[in-house]
Amino acid sequence: MITYCSAVWGEFTKFIGGRGGLAHWLLFGAAVLCCLVMGKRVRKKLFWPSALVLVFFFNPLFYAYVGTRFLSGVYWRLLWMLPVSFVIAFVLTELAYKIRKNVLRAAAVIAACACIIITGEREFSAATYSEKENAYEIPQAAIEISDLVMGQLTDWKEPIIVPNELMCYIRQYTCAVTPLYGRNAEGFITNIEPAEASVFAEMSSEEPDVKLITDIAKEKECRFIVFNTSFHRIPEDLTEYGYEKIDVVEDVYAVYRQIGPAQTE
């Protein structure tokens, strides 16, 4: 039982983001308690539903029988059922209106906002948003590489190998180009084959085994390989491995094509 209790607590801290999120949750706890004394209407709409959701979430038996079996890894999502921001915003509004003088009330509102700002983390920052490279809001290199190889592929199921930072974006632009592996290399959606896992491991390394990659690529009928030359330390000429450089995108992405098999250009 203690294991389940600590696991539920772990899900909770994962959701709030550890100590960083504690202040807003303490504010929520205080706001919920305020709702208890704010009259029947508020108790009915905000206090009891919040209390029930919390009981539901922190119930170790529920976690043991339902959480671990059906909500494994995403149990914290149940906390979306808590009207956290609505409760805090409503209680702060009501408290502000307990102050009769307009100027004092405005000062209280500013102080409350300042408390939220100081104890919180900015949602819009350089860490979360950046200048967009294109309307698709994916790396421009993914678009340029796709456009480059698209017309040369035999069909839309022919795989290509791309650096790890691009593997999630190619198919968001076009389904005419298929990476050999994508986010499944990190354990999502479907399982990855051992050969693909080997290529992924090599592409994750600064000094990839080019022979291994090109051998598997040939085996998988993968005629295009893209390396990030600012990360991968590889020989510039890959003709000895059966691949030739056809273009360089954004000065760092070297696109290689297999020498020999008939081209469809």
Partner: protein
Amino acid sequence: MSFRDILFMSILFVLLPMWIGYFWVVCLKLRGTVSRLLHAWVLGFATMLAVAQVLLVPLVALHQSLTTALMCWEAVLTLPAAGSFFALLVQWRESAQTEAADKRMRRSETAGQGNRVWTVIFGVLAAILILMQAYIPARYEHRDDDDSRFVSEEVSAVVHDTMYWDDPIGSDQLYWNTGEVKKDLTSPWAMYIAMCSRISDIPPAVLSHTYLPFFLILLCYALYLLIGRVLCSENWEKIFLFLIFLSVLHLWGYTSTHTLASMLLLRIWQGKAVCASFLLPLLFYLMYQVMNRRCRRGWYPLLHVAGTGACLLSGIGIVTGPVVLFLYGIVDFIYYRRWKKTLVIWSAALPGAVCLAYYLFG
């Protein structure tokens, strides 16, 4: 952003939901221009989601094409749209009676119970904060790895005219009942976006990353304003202050990538984020209405509509929708001891329960 795309998006995500939602406005006999518009928008969008869920699940299971799904969806949506038109005609006839009530409501909407100057100040501040939250995600770029599944599925559906037929990564034929994509049969939000992409001719990635955040964040705040109206007893000064606090909480709520604020402002185009930011708050709002002693019966079917719409968005909508209805149903029963009402509330969880049963045992 092009004018053409904005026009299409305005029709798909504002005008069409408002037109469809007007049916509910008339059924619920809502008064006041602002109240009607906001209710029509929010309830109309929820209706569109529910209709899509009812149609898409069997069509995906039957391996139908995206075009077929789109045609069916458009055909079925004409029913509530025609209902709205009929309701509008009826209301015109009764306009003389309602005019006086409307005038009263308008007066209370514009003046409220608060101080006029502070109402205007808070209103302007709230509007600036909300527009900023809608504009930044549309103007700037946020990358999320989950899109490699959802947006890829949308691209594949639009280009190949299929629904969940190929692996969003490897392009192997996958069918809807294989791997993690099995979840998508009961929550085909990606196909909803694919249908919007097909109608508007905007590529799914552009639609999801540039246009959806702007329209969906505004839609969410329209709903939050309605919640504020209920909680703050229609005092506009308080409602605007409520929205200011809510905006500040969201803008500084990035304590983890899992919080509601992060869902709303970082990846609102994904089904689970729409579930957390729109559908669950909509269920709260509907329950606030239903939990009144003198509640209009028109609110009950809306619980079913929202319960069905929650399933479309995400697997977590299938779980949390019924749980919210169950818990609020208990609260309502404790207060009013009316079994029939509680059973009606719980019955709205049935679509979710059916999807969950498939999800777990199918």
